[in-house]
Symmetry: C2
Subunit: 593 residues, 2 copies
């Protein structure tokens, strides 16, 4: 297995050359005082050391040994506790946190790269830190001052961790059906009772306390999603002097045995009249949750990218080293019994699929993270536009990057042949670990419906028009000359996307089923098209810099060519499928399946 | 997890209604005396009981416990030995075997269904029986009378099993580089010495003896693939009185720890001056191996179908049972808190993807198996045509059915959401078990090159023309009326395939790299197009029978509509990618990856 190497140069290229984040930060009053290029460079440097040296070496052992469960106690795999301590002591738990409570207040573009590094190194490890960061966002935005002073500060310090308790056995996508109850107490707190499943990091031995954010309903709450409230339920109660008090009747009933992420504790969590504190307003629990979700869902998308990047690095090392067969155009390495498998067109296809989609995904996720930053820290028109694009593209980030990420881990495994199927090379673990990212935090089917039904159709196409307008302006303003070969197909792709959007909007006005049956295809058409836009932006910069003699830029240009020749055409079949309508799916009775 | 149910009705529909195998058998002198509908029906009935009742229940436990290795001894998971004995005693090891040595002499269309059933039930189990059957084919065709009398008869009886020893650590796809040596002895036997890896069923406790077919080279053999010979090397030597003699210095060095098929022993096999017997002619080992390969490669393709069928059955049961959310067109089940997830367009999409591709794959694999039967048992023109189509479509069967099979196990897992990722539902095991089928028996990339470079380009398009002509004749001869909606898109698909073939042939005459870089796309275009042809043939029969009131036929027709509307359009993107040529893949230095 190749040692993981953080693609820092590519990250810098995106941050500064392509997306000019240094200028952006200077113009954002909420960031200008503490975010600049020097600080961010130092952070990414340090973070890459943690990922490469502390976290990546845990991954194989974490998979083999996994978490263990004994009578309610969950023990993480060897090395996780030490690595978590190093991580916490380095202050990394506060990277994206609110500066008023001890957070470092870094923008999403920076935390996104930090997430990618951790996920390339070990997705299981990244979940312990990621869930805490996600819960922190919700608490920072909606929690009372008292809750934030007591809990948020210690989540940022890494002293405590957090979990998100949403799913129940009968209520996953459909949270309106949850049964966990919260009964108001005289002191203003609540007694929370119920059972939650699939709770990542619900119980473990990494921290002294675990802060659960729990969705529950008051006894008299309205039915369905409008009756859900959000509560903070600590594993261990906290005394007024901030020391730990007695346990809070929160127990782990069991842990799941899963396909992958074996080192991540996926818990059944039982709450039995546990003391809880309301976050935000009563019956507005989903709103509080969704604050966090936009950030988290991009984070889950980035899991796909992270794993695929590691898979590519492994596959490339193997392909360069492995000799087998001869080139179709004549012997390339006469000194050896065979040529490197890099000579074979199909091996190059697999590697370039991965390379073009990984780099494209990283760039597109950076663009989406920027929209979140504009929405959070921007002002005026830019803020409003950022908010729109972030809302539109969050489901895209989650579903597209994880679908592509999974595909690329499978492709990376294929490059190694039989060696990709046995455990020792690590490629099969990446496939297993990544697979969950297409499922949790809202399945990719749910993301597709969020995009098409809630966002695109819900705004009668207006939200998508914001994106289309931006790209159309870019096309109009980009000088033809050496960008022609990229701008022309981009123009066609954008026109296809606009046309498909209109087609679905008018069809679904007649038959709402057309949304559900087109959603998955639509999301992927949007993804490849948005990625073509971002590839054009990257190649524009790379063409400018190509004279520098730095291979990095040459590689970008040639990878862009591959993307436009080989990957972007995937939209054409998806469009045909999306346009085929819903009749063939609904004109067949359930009994005929 | 749903109990596996063999789709016997669909198998019968294909054998008799669509492909008229009963008539075919009657007209084949080599089959007519022992193969008829009554016999075959009884065989499939009995075989389905074995698969459903004996083998399927082993699968979860086999995955959890797996095979164990202790100092050269390999122990299979609990229950495997008993099931293997039941299987052997039922005579199933001889199903496709030569009647002159105790085989049942069933055609490939029958053994193919038998393979599908076993693979739906448990791929690991199917490998112990499948490898023995495959080795039997090679031995029956190329072995001496003495070898066949001694070994083949006892492989057929199930008393002994077999393995195929090809791969070495440095020689997988490129077998020309193998180092295993065979030194001629005075008695006409050979001393075989070398180490083989990835040997399925190389060592285990199911049978008293294991017959290894080993590729090796004589000390003075020509270099490369033309110096490879095939040897029969028993684990235990056999006395003249047919009793077992001393061990033959064959040892298992270790077993692999793999992503899936945990109950299948994947062995490192060491031969140390082990006594071996030549099969076929010296230096013609690959020819002897390829006899078996056409049969085996379809068998591996069928592994993909088998697993995907099981995944569909599980997913369908779950989808009907699981309630979550409400239909987009209004509440469907007011008595419950939510509708079944069958109401959601994206869930129906996933299920119909699986259903249309599984049924299409079974039908297409039956068609390809028929070509093998025609090649083996046919006469005159039909035999020649069968041979051509079998050779052309074998790599298609192997790669297309396993790619689709893997996709469909992943899709089936997705239907279950989080429950698909945890182990207890069995869906994640199907994904892990199926993944290997895209790799072993020649990776799917190698299959694609076999199809495009060796078969299509090697025959200057002539072999593909045989297929194109058959479909064109079918299109011309099928009355338009109610088949119009299927024949029109089939016509376009065939025209696209013909055009793409010509395009690649003329481009690759200039640049041979264009074969390698188009091969994967080309194989899939061929697959979807061939499947459209077979769906048209199925729907033609179903339309005739639809008046019978049997839902089976209605379901076929509606599933065919889905296939043409939603799956066949996948060719369009593949064609664009295949036509993009090899420049973007080769005009980038290895260092720029």
């Amino acid at each position: 297995m190749a040692d993981y190497q953080v693609p820092l140069k590519d990250m810098n290229f995106l941050l500064y050359d392509v997306f000019k984040n240094d200028t952006l930060w200077q113009n954002m009053p909420k960031l200008a005082d503490h975010v600049d290029r020097e600080t961010v460079d130092a952070i990414l440097q340090e973070c890459s050391k943690i990922a490469e040296q502390q976290v990546a070496p845990l991954s194989r052992q974490g998979d083999e040994i996994g978490v263990s469960f004994d009578n309610g106690k969950v023990t993480t795999a060897p090395g996780y506790k030490e690595a978590f301590n190093t991580y916490a002591q380095g202050g990394w738990s506060s990277l994206g946190g609110d500066v008023n409570y001890g957070g470092m207040g870094m923008p999403k573009v920076v935390t996104a790269f930090h997430e990618e590094m951790l996920c390339s190194a070990d997705i299981s490890f990244s979940l312990y830190t990621g869930l805490t960061a996600g819960a922190g966002l919700s608490l920072a935005k909606h929690g009372s001052e008292a809750l934030k002073q007591r809990y948020l500060t210690r989540m940022y310090s890494g002293e405590w961790s957090a979990s998100m308790c949403l799913t129940e056995s009968h209520a996953g996508t459909d949270l309106g059906m949850i049964r966990t109850k919260a009964v108001p107490q005289k002191d203003g707190s609540y007694k929370v009772t119920g059972s939650k499943i699939f709770i990542t990091a619900g119980e473990h031995d990494l921290t002294d306390n675990i802060i659960h954010l729990v969705l529950a309903k008051l006894p008299d709450a309205p039915e369905g999603p409008r009756g859900i409230s959000l509560f903070l339920v600590p594993k261990i109660n906290v005394n007024d002097d901030e020391t730990l008090a007695e346990a809070n009747n929160v127990s782990c009933g069991s842990i799941e045995h899963k396909m992958g992420i074996h080192a991540s504790a996926t818990c059944v969590m039982n709450f039995d009249e546990s003391q809880g504190f309301l976050i935000g307003e009563l019956n507005k629990g989903l709103v509080c949750m969704f604050t966090m979700m936009n950030f988290e869902r991009i984070g889950v998308g980035i899991q796909g990218i992270g794993a695929a990047v590691k898979s590519y690095q492994n596959a490339l090392e193997y392909a360069k080293d492995r000799i087998q067969g001869r080139s179709a155009t004549g012997i390339k390495n006469p000194d050896k019994a065979a040529d490197s498998i890099m000579v074979h067109g199909d091996v190059r296809r697999m590697l370039l699929n991965m390379k073009s989609m990984n780099e494209g995904s990283r760039a597109l996720s950076t663009y989406i993270a920027m929209q979140l930053d504009l929405a959070t820290y921007g002002e005026g028109e830019a803020q409003v536009k950022g908010e729109t694009l972030a809302a539109l593209m969050t489901p895209l980030a989650k579903a597209f990057f994880t679908d592509i990420g999974f595909e690329n881990t499978v492709t990376g495994q294929q490059v190694l042949g039989g060696h990709g199927y046995v455990r020792e090379w690590g490629q099969e673990q990446l496939v297993r670990d990544t697979r969950i990212s297409q499922i949790y935090e809202g399945t990719n089917g749910v993301q597709a419906m969020d995009l098409l039904a809630r966002k695109v159709a819900g705004s009668k196409g207006a939200m998508m028009q914001v994106f289309l307008d931006e790209v159309t302006t870019y096309i109009d303003e980009t000088p033809a000359d050496n960008m022609q070969e990229f701008i022309n197909p981009l123009k066609n792709a954008i026109s296809d996307l606009a046309e498909l959007t209109q087609d679905i909007l008018s069809r679904s006005a007649q038959n709402t089923n057309d949304l559900g049956t087109s959603a998955n295809d639509y999301l992927h058409v949007f993804g490849y098209t948005a990625m073509a836009y971002i590839w054009a932006k990257m190649v524009e910069v790379a063409l400018d810099k190509d004279q520098s003699g730095d291979d990095f830029y040459t590689s970008k240009i040639k990878t862009a060519r591959y993307y436009f020749a080989r990957m972007l055409p995937r939209t054409q079949s998806l469009i045909l499928s999306a346009k085929a309508g819903s009749e063939t799916l609904f004109d067949i009775d359930d009994e005929l399946f």
